[in-house]
């Protein structure tokens, strides 16, 4: 597909990278192949062409997410395969991750009732971190949650979870009151506080939750792409001016630092998402603010 306006630099700018965030079908239909050909002139009927279901449901990013889920399940099954009181190294690694979520997140934030939320939090953490690490894995090279749909899906699940917990515990009105009226606030101020609290707890929470995950990985991947793709382009740029090539080398070298940062971000966002889920549940379960 041609991208008008993408010839900012002089010369023949290669277009690699520009469609890095697009999902590609693993088994593209004939129409997809024709309409997404790397030529500027596509047939007129492509304007009304609709992708087939395989073009939409079997893409590289969806495959990646499925792969992530398989890896997560396999990981947990392997590390818990032969449980021993004195753990093996593999079991110890599994216990370390499980305990981090179970004790460090669920128990510390939710309190005595933490037990029933552990599977949700462990699933959330492991699914997010493995998909984030796909951004640094050489075969996939794309963090799955840089596709916003996945992030919205998980944010919606957390949203449903903590609201369901709150409504189940306090009843609908009790829960609304808990979420909108902070304890100790007198009448006239409530008029000011309640809408803000409502807005914060029911609208911005899920949006920020999904958006934070998506935007960090999206931006991180964009950053990696700029340094790697841009660096590659600059290194190979022939313009009688070696400064371009030197800049390209520096850019490629710096991309390693960016990758290291992205490793941190991958872990951090999975952890933050899990922690926030737990704290929202804790707030919904709490007896008062």
């Amino acid at each position: 597909m041609a991208y008008p306006g993408f010839t900012l630099l002089e010369g023949d700018v290669p277009q690699f990278g520009v469609s890095a965030f697009d999902s590609r079908p693993l088994f593209p239909s004939q129409g997809w192949q024709t309409c997404h050909a790397a030529t500027a002139d596509v047939p007129d009927w492509c304007a009304t062409w609709q992708p087939t279901w395989t073009d939409i449901w079997i893409t590289n990013h969806i495959f990646q997410a499925v792969l992530g889920a398989i890896i997560v399940i396999a990981f947990w099954l392997i590390v818990t395969n032969k449980m021993r009181v004195v753990p093996s190294k593999v079991q110890w690694a599994g216990e370390y991750v499980y305990n981090m979520i179970r004790n460090g997140v669920a128990r510390d934030l939710i309190g005595p009732n933490y037990h029933k939320y552990v599977p949700f939090l462990v699933a959330m953490f492991s699914f997010i971190i493995i998909n984030n690490l796909f951004g640094e894995f050489f075969l996939t090279m794309f963090p799955t949650f840089a596709k916003v749909g996945f992030a919205w899906g998980l944010a919606l699940l957390t949203y449903i979870l903590y609201n369901a917990v709150g409504i189940k515990k306090h009843g609908l009105l009790g829960y609304l009151k808990l979420m909108t009226v902070p304890a100790g606030v007198k009448f006239p101020i409530i008029l000011l506080i309640a809408p803000l609290e409502f807005f914060s707890n029911f609208i911005t929470r899920p949006i920020t939750l999904g958006l934070r995950l998506f935007a960090n990985l999206f931006a991180g991947h964009l950053l990696v792409m700029i340094f790697v793709v841009g660096g590659t382009w600059l290194v190979t740029y022939t313009n009688n001016n070696p400064l371009y090539n030197v800049t390209g080398v520096v850019s490629l070298l710096f991309s390693f630092a960016i990758f290291a940062l992205e490793l941190l971000v991958a872990y951090l966002l999975a952890y933050v998402f899990t922690i926030l889920t737990a704290s929202y549940v804790a707030a919904a379960e709490a007896d008062s603010h």
């Binding site: 997410a65 499925v66 399940i73 818990t80 449980m83 009181v85 599977p119 949700f120 749909g149």
Partner: protein, 178 residues
């Protein structure tokens, strides 16, 4: 279309297609279900076992210590008992020794006094016997002797007996009193 622009009014924060959204949720539920039904029970069972093992170990150690303490106190009690018993036995032996000694002494004294009295009785008997025989023999002998000296028979008994008796009486008076 510009890259990363997205298709809707919200730009790139709307998914290209609901497929991502649906797949993400479905995958999460699969993972959640496996962790909920398989993984978590395994971990919790392990933790329970580990807690049991540790607690069991502590309990075993505590019971062993308790047993040792009981054994020690029993041993000490027995030792004290034995010492007491020994002292008692010693005391008793001492007492018995003293009693036996006293007994023996008394017995010896009794025996001695018995022997002494028996001897005295015997001596008395013998003395009186001797006295009797003397009284009998001396009289006749003296009579015989006197008869010989005087050359006449002193056969008249009554006179003779009176003379002898008065003699013996005088002898008795001279003899030391018992």
């Amino acid at each position: 279309m510009y890259p990363l622009e997205g298709t809707g009014p919200l730009g790139p924060i709307l998914p290209d297609h609901p497929s991502e959204f649906v797949v993400g949720i479905v995958l999460f539920f699969i993972i959640f279900f496996v962790i909920w039904k398989v993984i978590m029970p395994r971990f919790e069972k392990l933790y329970d076992e580990r807690t049991d093992t540790i607690r069991g170990g502590i309990e075993r150690a505590e019971s062993a210590q308790h047993e040792a303490e009981v054994a020690l106190s029993q041993y000490r009690a027995r030792l004290a008992n034995a010492e007491e018993e020994a002292a008692q036995i010693r005391d008793e032996a001492k007492k018995a020794g003293v009693a036996i000694q006293a007994d023996m002494r008394a017995q010896a004294q009794d025996e001695a006094s018995r022997i002494v009295s028996a001897a005295r009785v015997q001596i008395d008997a013998e003395r009186s016997e001797a006295l009797e025989s003397l009284r009998k023999d001396v009289g006749s002998m003296a009579t015989t002797l006197a008869g010989r000296i005087l050359g006449e028979a002193l056969d008249e008994d009554t006179r003779v007996r009176r003379t002898v008796d008065s003699f013996i009486t005088s002898l008795s008076k001279d003899a030391p009193q018992k």
